[in-house]
Symmetry: C2
């Protein structure tokens, strides 16, 4: 559906203003989709993001800072997110040997299993996008988005 209908606004000052609104709107839309999708598994999109990052390193551990650098939302509080995941037993934490300020975080078997169980579900959003765009179009869109943030 066109943004015009979604937010009931007939026209925009420019294609650029519409674009800024469209990106924020679509981001919110994807995000609230994710919240609903992940809820049955008991984690938030941000927690999922952390788990995915840790899975990428598995079975190695990485620092809290390192997680923060890789997150989609740079403002999120990695320390607290890690704490939540720890309570659920999805990750484990250990003070780093050679720098005792750092805390090494690694995904647990339980965490890996959860991601596995979520795989089909988490692909749904990608599939939704896929059905409406060709690979070339997706690629072009990615390039545009990368350029916008320059």
């Amino acid at each position: 559906m066109q943004l015009e209908e979604e937010i009931k606004q007939k026209k925009f000052k420019s294609e650029f203003q519409k674009l800024a609104l469209n990106i924020i709107f679509t981001g919110n839309w994807l995000n609230s989709n994710s919240i609903k999708t992940f809820k049955p598994f008991g984690i938030s999109p941000q927690q999922y993001n952390v788990l995915r990052i840790l899975k990428g390193q598995h079975p190695e551990a990485i620092s809290v800072n390192c997680i923060a650098e890789r997150m989609l939302d740079k403002n999120s509080n990695a320390s607290r997110l890690v704490d939540k995941l720890n309570t659920k037993g999805l990750i484990k934490r250990e003070t780093c040997g050679h720098d005792r300020r750092q805390v090494d975080i690694a995904i647990t078997e339980k965490g890996v299993k959860l991601l596995k169980a979520m795989e089909t579900t988490s692909n749904e959003i990608d599939l939704k996008i896929k059905s409406n765009l060709t690979t070339d179009e997706a690629k072009q869109l990615n390039d545009f988005l990368d350029r916008i943030r320059d």
Copy 2:
């Protein structure tokens, strides 16, 4: 900067998966830009969004529900946002005559003045986008985003 560098992830499962992450990432990026931009004026991006909607109707009033329908973030609590703006004297509220469940909201002169004062600043984000894309590219990007949500 490429998303790969931004979130320090070397590769993605597909162009579509990257796209989902890219939209959320870029949305967050725009949003935290807005927070910083609007902070000196004492309002949040969401409050700004409500003011803009009301300005579009000025000097007419619209219901809280009507505001909610037009917002970028459909999950936001329009009632509470309106309350915040009311405390600041940027809007006024009045129970609707023919349906006393509804509350008619209109922007005040103070609100209009604030938007006026913010005009230059709020254009900065659009300009930033403008400098990196042509109008045709922005249009194409808008079309892609609209299609994604179908």
